[in-house]
Symmetry: C2
Subunit: 242 residues, 2 copies
């Protein structure tokens, strides 16, 4: 089966968590909106969101078409792909644990996004710059260490291996945390340089995932959209911790 991934064509955004799983799984997929090109790509997405004949419309991209299934919400897509491509445990306890971790990644990512858009996504950064500054200061002081500390602790307590979040092999949560560490390092290089010292397992995981053959090939390809100032992870020097 050839999957169809529907996501905005010009940013990594939440679609990137799905791309990383598809790439690591060596799955065949079409990144629909990128293939169609700007404008046409967005129209392809909108057809599923608002088309009159769609009985189960997704709320927003990313969504994945897998045969007759159309699956919305990043964590939901990853749970589906994880089960099909050996990127999650098979037993119920492991599946639930993995999904719970991914939902905590989801919360983390939403808070990262809100650092530069605390008032509203509908307003420009420039129109909420003062608030972003205050929000980011609180985020870097309280939330970043809380989330990173949590995942570091999960790795430390993993009874099978402290090289992965779950069990003794790679899961989709490891891929997502690679992306989070990469994104945060782009957005907040100063704050993350400090954080690296206290979260060695997590930063080693980032390195190991980056060097996996399929991920390394993906990152070096044109399929990987570079980080930019329109995505979730944005670098505004004035927000990075002193």
């Amino acid at each position: 089966m050839v999957y169809e991934l529907y996501y905005w064509p010009s940013i990594q955004g939440r679609g990137e968590f799905v791309r990383l799983a598809l790439e690591e799984a060596d799955a065949s997929y079409i990144d629909v909106a990128r293939k169609a090109g700007s404008g046409a790509g967005e129209a392809r997405i909108m057809r599923w969101l608002t088309g009159a004949s769609v009985t189960r419309p997704p709320f927003a991209p990313p969504f994945l078409k897998a045969g007759r299934l159309v699956i919305g919400q990043t964590a939901n897509i990853l749970m589906f792909l994880g089960g099909r491509h050996g990127l999650a445990p098979q037993a119920q306890a492991g599946r639930l644990w993995t999904n719970g971790l991914q939902l905590t990644v989801t919360d983390f990512v939403a808070e990262v996004h809100d650092t530069h858009h605390p008032i509203a996504s509908s307003l420009y950064y420039e129109d909420q710059k003062k608030e972003a500054r205050r929000c980011t200061a609180e985020f870097l002081k309280h939330r970043l260490p809380k989330f990173l500390g949590y995942f570091e602790n999960v790795m430390a307590r993993n009874s099978r291996s402290d090289r992965y979040l779950v069990g003794a092999s790679l899961s989709y949560v490891d891929l997502s945390l690679f992306q989070v560490i990469a994104g945060l390092t782009y957005a907040f290089p100063r704050a993350m340089a400090k954080a690296a010292r206290r979260h060695r397992r997590l930063f080693s995981l980032h390195e190991r995932v980056r060097e996996r053959p399929r991920i390394a090939a993906y990152l070096a390809s044109a399929r990987r959209i570079p980080f930019n100032q329109d995505g979730i992870f944005r670098h505004y020097a004035e927000l990075d911790g002193a």
Copy 2:
């Protein structure tokens, strides 16, 4: 099996979505922190979050203990309970659709919370009142209609019944949307009075769920914590739409 629900004892919060599913399922459960009482209850929660012997610690409440399983994240708990108690479809397509809808409820609820805490949860409302006013105005103008319109549309397009979100019978997403409508009506009575006219299916769903025998009994009992100014849904008259 007697479930153990771990959630803060003085608010509905995210725990309420789980309580509603447990009540509708007529499941046996202990609301651990409420039973233990304030202080002791919080200590019972913290033991799971930070205890040295816990190998798979949840990130935050709510979490549910089901035999040897400890399940974190609201949507994850509901997916588990939905499968066990007939509150979700059995087939994969239906399960994924239901979970995707619940994750959209999760996003919605997070945005509601942020209306009164746009800068940081660690700061008092009084210290972000001006920002809350701006954030809420944008929320009521753009996001509230978008989310309500989406779920109204999902009901309208449900090929089996426009009385439920999914298929021809009640699922845990219906219970969660009951709670969201109830909470929003408490928080923003003026804005929601207007919204009711345009989202009749959703508001009827709220009424129907409220009148279900087990839910009605629960709502009339001392087990239902009233809405208050410490939860997700808070009523600040100055934030409600004019």
